[in-house]
């Protein structure tokens, strides 16, 4: 057995830590993340509160642990939703071309023309601001960019001779798409999905910042980051720790994404 690549090791370590912390956070935290304590408000990191407390005296460390599950879950579901919808749309319109492609892509381009966050805002107004509203809204907002990239990959794949070979064999179009086109789209999809994970974490925090995220007092990394803004001068730890969590998660996801992509590609094996 060879040593895994360093990016897989570091990425795996970061994401593994995140998952463990999120799991622990669901059942146990050092303090109750919702417990107000006005005596200890805006306390600097100390032995009692390792990561300090916020403006209501809530323990930042406990809130981060409790928020980890919410933030990671929202991002994961959103990315999954966008990747599934975008891939189906992209493969169908790239493979069939013609009027279907033209109509779908015109609609897609119109959606792309909106900034994702604006689109999500509009959708949230309809869906209502809660956890599932955010997932659906962001999922729809990020679908067009997935569809674009998948369609591009499919356009070049469908000209390859192995697709013609599959048709000559008598395979149905659906089988050709599932057996030959989809697996060959995985490399660009992994890269896209991992970078999108980061965008979604940030978008969720931006929505929370605008008051349309997960409603308080439930903690998410995004609304904690947003809530830290007024106190940035007095209590810098309020912003630093959620920010650090988001950054490290992104780093982990990206490293792991690269490693997974290499692993899934038979051409990279044995190199």
């Amino acid at each position: 057995m060879r040593m895994p690549a360093p990016n897989a090791l570091l990425g795996g370590f970061l994401i593994g830590t995140l998952i463990i912390v999120a799991l622990i956070g669901a059942v146990w935290t050092p303090y109750d993340p919702l417990q107000l304590s006005f005596r200890a408000k805006l306390a600097a990191p100390s032995a009692a509160h390792w990561l300090g407390t916020d403006e209501f005296g809530r323990d930042v460390g406990s809130r981060l642990m409790a928020g980890a599950a919410t933030s990671a879950w929202i991002s994961l579901l959103t990315v999954t939703l966008a990747v599934i919808c975008g891939t189906v749309i992209g493969i169908l319109s790239g493979y069939f071309r013609g009027w279907f492609d033209r109509i779908v892509m015109a609609f897609n381009d119109a959606l792309l023309a909106f900034p994702g966050i604006l689109l999500a805002l509009g959708l949230l107004a309809v869906l209502g601001a809660n956890k599932y509203g955010i997932i659906v809204a962001l999922g729809i907002a990020y679908t067009p960019s997935v569809a674009r990239i998948v369609r591009g990959a499919v356009l070049s794949l469908r000209e390859r001779e192995f697709i013609a070979a599959s048709r000559v064999m008598g395979n149905s179009e659906l089988f050709t798409m599932a057996r030959h086109i989809l697996p060959n789209c995985i490399a660009p999809l992994t890269v896209l999905a991992t970078s999108m994970f980061g965008y979604v974490l940030l978008a969720e925090s931006a929505l929370s910042f605008l008051g349309l995220g997960v409603p308080p007092p439930a903690p998410t990394w995004g609304n904690m980051l947003a809530g830290s803004r007024p106190y940035i001068g007095q209590a810098v730890w309020l912003g630093i720790f959620p920010g650090l969590c988001i950054s490290l998660t992104l780093l982990g996801i990206n490293l792991l994404g690269d490693a997974v992509r290499d692993k899934l590609d038979p051409r990279m094996r044995g190199m």
Binding site: E161, R167, V168, G170, N171
Partner: protein, 553 residues
């Protein structure tokens, strides 16, 4: 040639190796080129022929290091020459023509500017003098409207014309040596001959020596007076072209000569009542670009083509690029939708009933040109070859596995290949897999679209051999699409010649090759030299259709 004069170029004991691995890619190579002489380097991929030739220009890729040897051009060592002198030598004294005419001209520069570039750099002439020289050259290479060509872009010319322009831009400077790296490999046979004759003309007129690199021994032998044969970094044999052809010394040279296609005996096939494939008045239009608000006129690729293939027969379709031969194959394979005409398979129209369609779909298979793109990179060899069996009803899992193993054995890739991926295989092995995939269902009809044109000469011979063997064994009919007349002469029972979307001539192989009627067929045949074995391992080269058969080399 003139052995008493000093050589123009003398390469002595040149050894190059890859920095990282220390692998010798050019190993103690020595050869020389005399003024005005045409010398050819022949070898397959990986022989080091291109590296050796580029080293003459002082171009060695950064990953490769010179170990020993000298390259003297006009008495000066290219390897130790000052960069400024080297730059003056390139272009002015040594010119180079590359393989790919589509990319060797700058697409965003006018032809006039590109031709002027070298002249302005290396010659002290006024703008008017340079313009006169350029116009004169354009006229010589047969450009119809030289004045207009000056302000045209490369994409406005065909591949052959671009290669002429490339040649013109090099020959304008009247270099002492021209390096031509596979100069006509990307062109079809007729254009290839035209470009080569132009090259001979222009270089003779200026007494320019030519060092031509190619995998095509026939072409090199036709034009060069001396031949250098390279294999895996070594020069295995060099000598005068006639001697090398008629009395090859080294086993590899013999192998190369033996690999060149030759005519087999004519077969007599029993005539069946119903042809396996019958195409009537087939018309194919390629739709123009279509947007929301515009519709371009479709382009007609096939103008009513009719063709029959009898059971067990190999019919070759030949033609230049744009002749519609690939479109015909695609339409019969069901990849291209015809806009008119009818295709019958075993006497039944393929689009009328479900049963007729499935009989056709299961029995009509295809081998594609490019073994690098015709195999799904994410599937193992076993899965690839087994995939067509998925649709065969009434075949058990064990039986399918047995069939896959049997076919892999037939193509000579039995041991341990089933679990490998396509990228681990060489081009020839991949094409064997593609053939295995096409025949695994035991089809009665196989379309082969340029199946060997992407392969090296010796590999090509092996794959053709394999294909012929399978055809004999399983008796499938075959539509063999190719631009390579040599290959066609070897495999075909009957030949169909296509030109601009129409069939211009068809007949038995011997009739087409020995007694062509149509002008285009004659032109095709006259562009490719023929070969005749002399019986003792050597061959004799001749031009077809020239007055009598001239033994020339």
């Amino acid at each position: 040639m003139a052995e008493n004069t000093t050589p123009l170029l003398a390469v002595d004991n040149l050894t190059l190796e890859i920095n990282r691995t220390g692998k010798r890619v050019v190993n103690g190579v020595s050869f020389s080129v005399f003024p005005g002489e045409m010398v050819g380097i022949v070898g397959e991929s990986g022989s080091g022929k291109t590296l050796a030739a580029r080293a003459v220009m002082g171009f060695i890729p950064p990953a490769i290091r010179k170990v020993s040897g000298t390259i003297r051009f006009e008495g000066q060592d290219v390897m130790t020459m000052a960069p400024k002198l080297l730059r003056e030598m390139r272009g002015a004294r040594v010119g180079m023509v590359f393989q790919e005419p589509m990319t060797s001209l700058n697409p965003s520069m006018l032809i006039g500017e590109q031709l002027d570039e070298g002249l302005a750099l290396h010659r002290k002439l006024s703008t008017a003098e340079r313009r006169a020289l350029i116009l004169d050259m354009l006229r010589r290479i047969g450009i119809r409207d030289p004045e207009g060509a000056l302000t045209a872009y490369p994409h406005q010319f065909s591949g052959g014309m671009r290669q002429r322009i490339m040649l013109a831009s090099v020959m304008l400077l009247k270099p002492a040596l021209l390096l031509a790296d596979e100069p006509t490999t990307a062109l079809d046979a007729v254009v290839q001959r035209e470009v080569l004759e132009l090259m001979v003309d222009l270089t003779k007129a200026n007494n320019t020596a030519v060092l031509m690199i190619s995998h095509d021994l026939g072409m090199i032998a036709r034009y060069c007076s001396r031949i250098i044969v390279m294999q895996q970094g070594d020069v295995v044999e060099q000598g005068l072209a006639q001697d090398l052809l008629s009395r090859p010394q080294h086993p590899y040279t013999r192998k190369l000569l033996a690999a060149m296609p030759h005519r087999g005996p004519a077969r007599v096939l029993p005539r069946a009542d119903v042809p396996i494939v019958a195409v009537r008045d087939l018309v194919v239009d390629y739709g123009g670009r279509q947007g929301f608000f515009r519709k371009e006129k479709p382009k007609r690729a096939l103008h009513g083509v009719s063709i029959d293939v009898q059971p067990g027969e190999v019919v070759a379709v030949v033609g230049g690029s744009g002749s519609g031969k690939t479109t015909l194959g695609g339409a019969i394979a069901g990849l291209v939708k015809p806009s008119g005409g009818e295709i019958r398979f075993n006497g039944k129209p393929i689009d009328r009933s479900e049963t007729a369609y499935w009989d056709y779909r299961l029995n009509c298979q295809m081998v594609f040109q490019d073994p690098y793109s015709s195999l799904d990179p994410r599937m193992t060899i076993g899965d690839l070859v087994g995939e067509p069996l998925r649709l065969v009803s009434g075949m058990g899992k064990a039986e399918k596995a047995r069939r896959v193993q049997e076919v892999l054995t037939e193509v000579g890739l039995a041991e341990g290949f089933a679990s490998r991926f396509p990228h681990e295989l060489s081009g020839g092995q991949r094409q064997r897999i593609a053939i295995a995939r096409a025949v695994v269902r035991r089809p009665s009809f196989v379309i082969a679209d340029e199946p060997v044109s992407a392969l090296d000469v010796t590999v090509r011979a092996q794959v053709l051999e394999l294909f012929a063997e399978l055809q004999r064994k399983h008796g499938f009919s075959c539509l063999f699409i190719s631009h390579d007349l040599g290959v066609v002469e070897q495999v075909a029972d009957r030949v169909v010649v296509m030109h601009e979307g129409r069939i211009v001539e068809e007949g038995s192989r011997d009739a087409i090759f020995d007694n062509p009627r149509h002008d285009y067929t004659r032109k095709l045949l006259s562009a490719v030299p023929g070969l005749e074995s002399t019986g003792d391992g050597g061959v004799r080269l001749f031009w077809r259709l020239s007055e009598g058969v001239t033994a020339e080399a």
